[in-house]
Symmetry: C2
Amino acid sequence: MIPSGNPTLEMVAAEAGVSRATVSRVVNGHASVAPEAVAAVHAAVARLNYVPNRVARSLASRRTDVIALIVPESTSTVFADPFFAPVVRGVARALAETDFTLNLLVASETRPEKTRRYLLGGNVDGALVVSHHSGDHSYLGLGDALPIVFGGRPLNPELESRHYVDVDNRHAAQSATEYLLGSGRRRVATIAGPQDMPAGIDRLAGWRDAVEAVGGDVSLAEHGAFTQQSGAEAVIRLLDRHPASGAGSASTGSASTGSAGAGFDALFAANDQMAAGAIQALRNRGLSSPADVAVVGFDDDAFAATLDPPLTTVRQPATELGVSMTELLVRLISGEEAPHRTIIPTELVRRGTA
Amino acid sequence: MIPSGNPTLEMVAAEAGVSRATVSRVVNGHASVAPEAVAAVHAAVARLNYVPNRVARSLASRRTDVIALIVPESTSTVFADPFFAPVVRGVARALAETDFTLNLLVASETRPEKTRRYLLGGNVDGALVVSHHSGDHSYLGLGDALPIVFGGRPLNPELESRHYVDVDNRHAAQSATEYLLGSGRRRVATIAGPQDMPAGIDRLAGWRDAVEAVGGDVSLAEHGAFTQQSGAEAVIRLLDRHPASGAGSASTGSASTGSAGAGFDALFAANDQMAAGAIQALRNRGLSSPADVAVVGFDDDAFAATLDPPLTTVRQPATELGVSMTELLVRLISGEEAPHRTIIPTELVRRGTA
DNA sequence: GTACGCTTGGAGAGCGCTCTCACGAGCTGC
DNA sequence: GCAGCTCGTGAGAGCGCTCTCCAAGCGTAC
């Protein structure tokens, strides 16, 4: 809505006694304008409380100075997803120093057309896509119409050539598993994430890399859905499939009340939520962490440190991811070339569970 | 950025052999157009893969079909604020059925001009402002230039006449306190929130209403900053100021290891975070909840139910708040009159701590 | 005095769309 | 048979801005 009374460039020009072009030049800091003219324009702008109409400007200049951050609706439900907030923060931070404005688009999955039309309708200069999901084909049709940066490696082969920023999930998972192995644990199990998301796939692959390297048992894997509940269920399945055998059960100082123990002595969970659920479920079975089962999570959720005991986990620098994605996109928008792949390092945060 | 190759209305018109006006009519579903013309246009649109340029449309129609959700940067830091996610979800849900698009604006507090210019620059049809903070004067200058709906009662007197949706914090706090009183507790303390936010002020007032009604001790109040840490600190101050006296200390089944107990037997915390911190601190002093001190929180955070024991709290229907704000704004945009104040009911969720 | 370069500012043609207005065609009714 | 309709369509004038010319003014050089 443009209030009818809004002052226009034209009115400012009249007020300042110069032409529209001159006002435009002053407002945008272009070219050389005589000091008196500049002063006159500034005065007129102030007097009329003029604010340039960005829509008109966009139409004429074919730029919008807006970038979209697209979040699939299903993610927004998991919006509370502790991973998400810091990403947004990073994006906002990176953008604060530019003239770009953030535009968070909750992509309705039932009406993908709406998103596509918005993106193609000249509303934004570029888009950031944060999605944990694959199977989302909304961005295929966009072709090269718009610079897009993905957060996380796009699974779709057609999108693989697009620009993306990701953490090295695979390597981080491998390191975490190696850490477990290096601390004297023999049988490291894993609760993997959904295998239709890069984070799920890559973290499982990393675990397997490490386990295979020492000739370990790669059957010690169960899948979860990145939720606490699913983590609990997965660990129970693990326990049922691999009850206490010769190995494991260090039981030093454990509160084991009479359970059979576990057929593994360490666990790498593909995210913190599942790790939390697993620890809870283990406890219900009389198994404690780290005594009976050392646990390493992934993400370093806001609450990871507040668990009891505090969770050892792989920190995913989400804020930095947001910053990095944004900087990349801004460069693409300004026409620069940039590498398609940016990998952000992770860090193992040692706390109480391993 | 508008890719140079983008088809325009003009091109569609040429392709379909009709005038621009007719294409516009078909695309927007206006008026009566001959069936053959409609078919021809649709065919041309499909053939050219035409997507209307929303910027041009906005310029001409003076509508944008975009509404902004404004979040102050400081909130976005607390973005993980469990209150926020469901609000966004509610907004997105309400918008999904309309043609409006959501535009989340992280308002830079260091550059308020940026937000103001964006809002005034004809980019959006209306704005939703979610802020827990007062002292934000960014919206004062907007006058009636733009329909705005606030989430939470605006503290600034100048904004009081604006439209807002809020939960009845005061009444909810009163009810929660009465519930505590009704369950046999005699001395109900409170940890209030910051007194520069409506939620802080109103919840304290509600507690006082209930306490005064039974001639209780209104000095049993300390302030916190809505964080876990501050909740813990506040309850310690409470404990220090009011050690065990004649009253309180039911101590049934408590693990009291030798502490002095507390000079209050119930606690109403202005949010769940502070309640969680308080329970933790009480426990460190050998006091347990609900045995020694019954606790009621506020918000029903995502994690409230997962605490041990699960937290009794006042549920704040955040999603509904988002929906309600959005519906109100949409009505305002379409020029309807609407009540300035919408109050959403809360609900006491009885769990383990009271 | 002419030629040339430089700075400054104005005119005007769009950007892609909406929407009013007017016009022609086909109809009804007397 | 003609006024008076309605219905479908096209022409064209913007919406508020950018940006490319182009012209005027002034200074310097020859």
